[in-house]
């Protein structure tokens, strides 16, 4: 039985998807940042095509595992959005946690990759571009994991529901953007080398 009288006014909801718009703008900034670095990388690679990564071979296994991990995490993220919009809070929390865990797994795989590539900053002219591009994406994933954690705690506190799923939806927008960007980096940097 509810103790709230039926004639009580509905609680005031936050206005017009404030967090969603803020996240969308921030995500657009992240896209532009990454695209700018990728553009510089491709231009430099085209100019030095003879010597680019000539001394070493970046293995494709870890980057591809990273891609699969992130694609799985995007599916888990969509599960969280689906669950919160149907008031299945335990599912939403589980899915958000899984997404974050897969994000950490991706960070781990790329950190391991760095120990395998053998690109030394002091000796390889391509190293600064390679590390700036891939590590900045790593930072964006770490920010995404942090964002998910905060939204999960807020969901745990009952701030999000089917009526107001915005926090989870906004985190999902950012996550999809980060996953999409990795798809582009995977092809442009690791596959085509």
């Amino acid at each position: 039985m509810s103790i709230i009288p039926v004639e009580s006014p509905a609680p005031v909801l936050p206005r017009r998807r404030k967090q969603l718009f803020a996240t969308a703008y921030a995500s657009a900034g992240v896209v532009m940042f990454t695209v700018a670095l990728l553009g510089s990388y491709l231009v430099q690679r085209a100019a030095d095509i003879e010597t680019w990564l000539a001394d070493n071979s970046i293995p494709l296994l870890q980057p591809t595992m990273g891609l699969f991990t992130l694609v799985l995490s995007a599916a888990a993220m969509q599960w969280a959005v689906y669950a919160i919009s149907r008031d299945m809070r335990s599912h939403a929390l589980l899915a958000t946690g899984l997404t974050g865990l897969l994000g950490i797994a991706y960070i781990n795989s790329i950190a391991f990759l760095y120990s395998q590539v053998g690109l030394e900053m002091a000796n390889h002219s391509e190293a600064p571009l390679f590390y700036t591009l891939t590590a900045s994406h790593l930072v964006f994933v770490a920010i995404g994991v942090l964002y998910l954690a905060v939204m999960a705690f807020r969901a745990l506190g009952g701030q999000f529901s089917a009526r107001y799923p915005e926090g989870i939806s906004a985190a999902a927008v950012y996550w999809y953007v980060v996953v999409g960007l990795y798809g582009v980096i995977w092809y442009a940097v690791y596959v085509t080398k």
Binding site: K18, Y25, A26, M32, T34, V43, A122, S125
Partner: protein, 526 residues
């Protein structure tokens, strides 16, 4: 628990003294506040000081160009000085000044009692203040782009990156306010011109300046690499100060002009939709992240670049048509200082866009570096003039006092004089340098005029600061809420607005001029 009695405004509350319930005060209150009005005032105060510094620096750089008796001001430090000047105009002074006006005015214009994410807005302000201080300190120790000390240069780079990030955060708060906190009925096509222009400019900044940040990050990492990168620091950023990206800062200036013109023409803005379209197109054509030499070294010599520089003139013509052909022509002109400065800003911006067109078409073989400086100066002074016009216009709302008309007219005269002396000789020198057999003498004379212009502009900004401080200190007794009989919602609240600003429910907005609607309804009913 239900409160059935009005809370006493002062005195003891639940056994606590007035001092205990008064909340923080002094410096603690200043540093801890997230009130958009206080944040806006702080932005305006700091950025005006930096604007005066930037104009002084411009004058000193011209002293080095004149090279009187081989006794330069900067000497070997001319590289870092000129790079700091270029960055300072946009990122240290002008955008923060516009952001300060927007932080204060935009929430009021869209009928909101607060800015979106007020604590993030406060974080942005103080990060900007601290990083500006760190950048200046790094310059003192031999930093800034082109500086002699590698570690100090790296520190400048980090400070500049953090500064851009802070400005983006502050901008994000304002644009989310415009999108999400509008009252009922205020559709995007009814948003006031200043708010709309800031929405467009802020959106562009969110798409353009992350590219600057990418170049900053790359330069920072590249210092550990095998190549010498000190020369590449500035080349990765300079495009953001060149056409078309530099027009981003001019866009809110156009919005301020759009606020001032109808008020002092005492009529509604004609063809409001066309004006919004003009602002939107001006913004769209100002997107310049693609035009950077890092991607394409010859980009400025290509047809697309020339076409875009020409294209940006078209929405400006549209806006001019709306102001001169519509509002000003049929209005009852009230020749107050904001209108005079707004007209001066229009003139300077038109000269800037014209210089941009001449620069890319280059029918008279303009000297590239001087042409760049001329265009940059026109855009900078136009934006500064419009920002000061906005400041005079909104001073009663921001500081609760009046910007007295005679010092305001002094500001107008000095500002216009300084702007013309600062910009026009640079433009003429760009035309002469490659077209005279011996240009040294005339160029020195023109650079000497630029020195005077820079100093006069410094005086103009200093007089503006003095007049603003006087307005804030004097508090001219009762000032009507809508002093200018303006049409936008910020003029529906007190001067300055009370805490919480809109302490009543706003009626649904039905047009772009809600207060004019209200007055017309009142007059019709009486």
């Amino acid at each position: 628990m239900t409160i059935t009695e009005t809370r006493p405004e002062s005195g003891e509350v639940a056994g606590r003294t007035a001092e205990e319930t008064a909340g923080p005060s002094g410096l603690y209150r200043l540093l801890g506040t997230s009130d958009h009005k206080t944040l806006g005032r702080l932005y305006i105060g700091f950025s005006l000081m930096l604007l005066a510094g930037v104009f002084t620096m411009g004058a000193l750089l011209a002293v080095d160009a004149v090279d009187v008796e081989g006794n330069p001001v900067f000497g070997a430090a001319i590289g870092p000085a000129s790079s700091s000047y270029l960055l300072g105009t946009v990122f240290f002074a002008l955008w923060p000044l516009l952001l300060g006006l927007a932080t204060y005015v935009v929430p009021l214009q869209v009928g909101s009692s607060t800015i979106a994410y007020p604590r993030a807005a406060a974080l942005a302000l103080w990060t900007w203040v601290v990083t500006t201080g760190v950048y200046i300190a790094s310059v003192v120790f031999g930093g800034a782009y082109g500086g002699a000390d590698d570690e100090a240069v790296a520190l400048s780079n980090v400070a500049f990156g953090a500064l851009v990030l802070a400005l983006l955060l502050g901008t994000l708060c304002v644009i989310v306010t415009i999108i999400s906190l509008r009252p009922r009925g205020m559709k995007l096509n009814r948003v006031p011109l200043f708010s709309f222009s800031f929405l467009a400019a802020g959106s562009l900044a969110m798409l353009t300046w992350p590219v600057v940040l990418a170049n900053v990050a790359l330069a920072q990492v590249a210092q550990f690499g095998p190549d010498v990168v000190s020369e590449t620091y500035l080349s990765g950023i300079r495009w953001a100060l060149d056409v078309p990206a530099v027009y981003i800062v001019a866009l809110p200036a156009l919005g301020i002009i759009g606020e001032v013109v109808p008020v002092f023409a005492r009529r509604r803005q004609a063809h409001y939709g066309v004006m919004l379209t003009g602002l939107g197109l001006f913004g769209a054509f100002s997107f310049g992240a693609w035009a950077q030499p890092a991607f394409n070294i010859e980009v400025q010599e290509q047809l697309l670049f020339a076409f875009m520089a020409f294209l940006v003139a078209l929405p400006l013509l549209l806006l001019l048509g709306g102001w001169f052909g519509g509002t000003l022509r049929s209005g009852e002109l009230w020749w107050r200082s904001p209108l005079l400065l707004a007209l001066a800003a229009i003139l300077l911006l038109c000269l800037g866009v014209l210089t941009g067109v001449l620069r890319v078409l280059n029918p008279v073989d303009m000297a590239p570096e001087r042409a760049f400086l001329a265009q940059s100066s026109f855009v900078v002074t136009a934006t500064a003039a419009a920002a000061v016009a906005g400041l005079i216009y909104w001073v009663p709302k921001i500081y609760g006092g009046l910007f007295a008309e005679w010092p305001a007219r002094v500001v107008v005269v000095v500002f216009v004089l300084g702007s013309l002396l600062y910009t026009v000789p640079t433009g003429i020198s760009a035309l002469l340098e490659n077209n005279l057999s011996n240009p040294t003498g005339p160029l020195r004379a023109l650079d000497a005029i630029v020195i005077v212009g820079g100093l006069v502009l410094t005086v103009a900004v200093a007089v503006s600061v003095g007049a603003v401080m006087n307005a804030a200190r004097r508090k001219d007794g009762f000032i009507p809420d809508n002093l200018w009989r303006a049409s936008t919602l910020e003029w529906a609240v007190g001067c300055p607005p009370p805490p919480g600003s809109f302490v009543w429910d706003l009626a649904p907005v039905t047009s772009e001029a809600p207060l004019v609607d209200f007055y017309e309804e009142e007059e019709a009913s009486s």
